[in-house]
């Protein structure tokens, strides 16, 4: 019942708030090219009959979200362990690289979509905290021989105004409640509570107001979204002007020898690891197949540009196994 209500509400909202769609059409026309997505997303008529891929399977779009939800519900408990096992710990370096490229300053607001267990959010808060400490140390060093004016306006005698308006925060948004629960538990056991929020939401329909965040990140999550273009448009909407979109995702390996090794590893070792550690071969089979169906670096760059981002660049990590895409909302 709610499905039909939801469709009706959505249609009513889209009719009345047509400005978002108009803007999207404008950017699409401006970009001039419309590539046929190699991921065979849109078949059938506009009555909602479209099919898409779920790994190497073909499924109706409506089913994909449910299947993906099931996959992550199953893997949530062992997600972090599996990440370490599958990538031999290298995923930590990839996420660190994302943070270094981001270089957030104190006061920045982060939205981590498909953030699940919160890896990026934790690193963000840690980075910002160390930046703040570095700034304080630099300020202290430059005040070795303070004048009377400096002393009277210093932190000791004045109120702590600096910390107030420059509080940075991270919001972790994920469609899967199990993943969020695991993440929240990790946060509580690590004692990270201040500035961290958890929200269950759909990347294609974010529950956030326009122009809210300085940085939007999605790490290894966007290939699981049914309609990637919709998620990109939502990303554009919730970012402040000048905000940055950053996406870490598995991509095409450039070197053919490495590609052969990577394929062998992906299709043989990873599902086996999944069976041993998480007792779930099929979920990890899906994860590996979904990597192959995701567009490559250049194509994804074009998709991001189509959504309306500017200065879109990508950096290959580990020979192209992972690509970091970045774009700005201007």
């Amino acid at each position: 019942m709610a499905a039909s209500v939801r469709l009706m509400l959505r249609r009513a909202v889209r009719l009345s708030h047509g400005k978002i769609n108009v803007a999207a059409a404008d950017t699409a026309a401006r970009s001039g090219r419309r590539l046929a997505p190699s991921t065979c997303r849109c078949f059938g008529d506009a009555a909602g009959d479209r099919i898409t891929h779920f790994g190497f399977e073909t499924v109706p779009e409506a089913e994909k979200a449910k299947k993906v939800y099931k996959v992550f519900e199953n893997v949530a408990r062992h997600y972090d362990t599996m990440n370490d096992a599958m990538s031999l710990g290298i995923h930590r370096l990839w996420k660190d690289a994302l943070l270094h490229a981001m270089h957030p300053q104190p006061g920045a607001q982060l939205l981590d979509v498909a953030g699940g267990t919160g890896d990026i959010a934790f690193r963000f808060l840690e980075y910002v905290r160390s930046q703040q400490e570095r700034q304080k140390r630099r300020a202290a060093r430059s005040m070795q021989t303070p004048s009377w004016r400096d002393i009277s306006s210093s932190d000791q005698y004045a109120s702590e105004d600096e910390a107030g308006p420059r509080e940075s925060g991270a919001v972790v948004c994920d469609i899967n409640k199990e993943m969020l629960k695991v993440g929240k538990r990790r946060a509580e056991s690590a004692g990270v509570v201040a500035g961290l929020s958890w929200v269950a939401g759909d990347a294609e329909e974010l529950p956030f107001d326009d122009d809210q965040f300085d940085v939007y990140t999605v790490a290894f999550g966007i290939r699981n979204v049914t309609r990637i273009d919709q998620a990109l448009k939502e990303a554009l909407r919730v970012l402040k002007p000048g905000g940055r979109f950053m996406c870490l995702e598995f991509s095409k390996v450039t070197n053919p020898v490495l590609a052969r090794l990577y394929d062998a590893y992906s299709f043989n070792v990873i599902p086996a690891l999944g069976e041993v550690i998480a007792a779930d071969w099929k979920s990890y089979q899906y994860l590996v197949e979904s990597i192959r169906k995701f567009p490559d670096q250049e194509e994804f760059k074009l998709m991001i540009e189509d959504a309306g981002f500017f200065c879109v660049k990508y950096y290959n990590l580990t020979g192209g196994v992972v690509a970091l895409h970045s774009g700005f909302k201007l």
Binding site: V13, K181, S189, S197, D202, E205, P207, F213
Partner: protein, 108 residues
Amino acid sequence: MYRAVVCRLVTEAGRVPRGVNHGALALRLRSFSGVKDEQQPPFNRSLLRFLVCPLSKRPLRYEPETNELINEELGIAYPIIDGIPNMIPQEARLIEKDTDVSTTPAQG
């Protein structure tokens, strides 16, 4: 890294007795208050700053009694479970116009 390991050990050791006390306290409070749900962690109101309804993008109202976020216009309520607001449209509850509590839960 060492700090993380030590932290985990300390919290693991400290969790068991703390859990027992919390449970006992919750039981005592529940018998007195009856209405309040002690086990739900409090909802972080600062989230309301940027949370909106995903369907209409309008602001929401926090309802402490039912622990939900309500969109008056569309008449739907988003539940808050374990302090995490569930903003997925399929799982929102329709609020009946005449009565306060809806008897038809929404299903995905």
